[in-house]
């Protein structure tokens, strides 16, 4: 890695940014999200916090521009130079400019805005170019996959040589909303699934992981492992034999295989056979004995045949009628040792798949020994 001459850095840990304008290539919310995620990549490994402002001068001003655009570094049209940014400092210092002549995107078409933003924000924070091709600070574009991207050790060494590591407490993906304590009696989960030898519990931008048989737990931010995955995952299930975990949010779903986000995702849930009136999935669970997946939506559920890759006929059916004691609506569900564990608010119901009935009523946070 390298830094700028004189090692300019921001002398404070809370840095503001402002998105001055937008590229017509992407939806505004996709630009906002790509930039937010790009900042989160750096805040996850430093004590820095980034706060967005919508008016006035921010430390880091972000804009899209064509050709000559007011600094002494005109852009050169499509390809060639994609973007540039200035080292920390007043005025234009820290600012990041993106060449509007490129075709910006949130996927691998054209130029991925998230990847280029992570690189330029590295400059905005004081990093120079690295000759390590695996580093995000490598000057040429096209060597990294946005789906599997994570900072290289060279990047982390570089930025931590300027700002140090994150403060001792766990990373807080959203400083305005403190991380919920896992033993809070009112805690409910967004989604739960097994993942190899662990169980993972999603909540907002974080997830807890736990070994079922030991008390060892941990917490991590979704973005630190999977920067392009949104927070607020709503449903998740694992097909252990295939080492696949499917994650759902709104009308999209992603596939993790060996902990890596797979290319060509997200996909639409309608490709699974849901009718258009289904907007999101509350919970999903794979039954390895039947090789079927159950999807729970409001007070109804569907059943998907994983072998034939299609929804079974005769669905949806009502949850309360076919899962006695469960529902009418659920938050999350996962399968473990011949039981489904249904989560409804702060309550968890152990449901024996052979006996077809609830056999235990627990608190949602029961797995954490609260």
């Amino acid at each position: 890695y390298s830094t700028f001459q004189g090692r300019p850095v921001w002398k404070k840990h809370e840095i503001t940014y402002r998105i001055n304008n937008y590229t017509p290539d992407m939806k505004k919310e996709d630009v906002d999200y790509a930039i937010q995620k790009a900042f989160q990549v750096w805040s996850d490994v430093t004590p820095l916090k980034f706060r967005r402002v919508h008016a006035g001068e921010a430390d880091i001003m972000i804009s899209f521009a064509n050709g000559a655009h007011g600094d002494f570094n005109p852009f050169d049209g499509k390809d060639g130079i994609l973007a540039h940014a200035y080292e920390p400092g007043p005025g234009i210092g820290g600012d990041a400019h993106f060449d509007e002549a490129e075709t910006w995107s949130k996927n691998q078409q054209g130029r991925n805005l998230f990847l280029v933003a992570v690189h330029e924000l590295g400059h905005s924070l004081g990093l120079g170019h690295s000759n390590d091709r695996k580093a995000i600070m490598y000057p040429n574009y096209g060597y990294l996959d946005p789906n599997t991207f994570h900072l290289s050790s060279d990047d982390i060494r570089g930025i931590q040589s300027l700002y140090g590591g994150p403060e001792k407490h766990q990373p807080m993906p959203n400083p305005d909303r403190p991380k919920p304590a896992v033993c809070d009696p009112n805690l409910s989960f967004d989604a739960v699934t097994t993942l190899g030898d662990k169980i993972i519990f999603f909540k907002d931008g974080v997830f807890w992981w736990k070994f079922p048989e030991t008390s060892k737990t941990g917490i991590s931010s979704i973005s630190s492992l999977w920067p392009t995955l949104p927070s607020g995952i709503q449903a998740a299930y694992e097909i252990e034999a295939r080492k696949q975990v499917f994650l759902f949010k709104d009308d999209k779903y992603w596939l993790l295989s060996n902990l890596r986000l797979q290319p060509n995702y997200p996909k639409s849930i309608y490709s699974l056979g849901f009718p258009k009136y289904v907007k999101k999935i509350d919970g999903a669970v794979f039954n390895p004995l039947l090789y079927k997946t159950y999807f729970f939506v409001n007070s109804w559920y569907w059943r998907y045949d994983e072998r034939n890759q299609r929804m079974d006929p005769g669905y949806p059916r009502q949850i309360t009628k076919n899962f006695p004691g469960i529902g009418p609506k659920i938050d999350a569900v996962f399968y473990f040792k011949r039981n489904y564990y249904f989560f409804q608010g702060s309550t968890q119901l152990q449901y024996d798949v052979m006996l077809h009935r609830v056999t235990k009523r627990l608190r949602s946070s029961n797995w954490f020994g609260c």
Binding site: F75, G80, L82, E102, H123, N131, Y141
Partner: protein, 82 residues
């Protein structure tokens, strides 16, 4: 680095390379103002600096792989800070 074919660069190649090396490797910054004609030596030296940075064969010549890297989409911040 793939085995670079030694070619005789076109005038356009040379112009592009000088522009590239000037923007990213400060080619003209290190040449005394009194001599604005870029000498072969300083050009060769900058080509070597760029080849070393990108892990290419350090030949100081504008071979195919060097030109190929120069034409890749990239960030506009210089690779070296003089």
């Amino acid at each position: 680095a793939s085995q670079a074919k030694v070619i005789s660069p076109t005038e356009m190649d040379e112009e592009f390379a000088e522009m590239y090396l000037n923007h990213f490797y400060g080619l003209t910054e290190t040449i005394p103002m009194t001599k604005m004609k870029i000498s072969r030596d300083s050009l060769k030296e900058k080509i070597q600096e760029m080849q070393k940075f990108f892990g290419l064969n350090v030949t100081g010549q504008l071979d195919t792989s060097t030109l190929e890297v120069m034409h890749k989409p990239r960030c506009g911040v210089p690779d070296v800070h003089h």
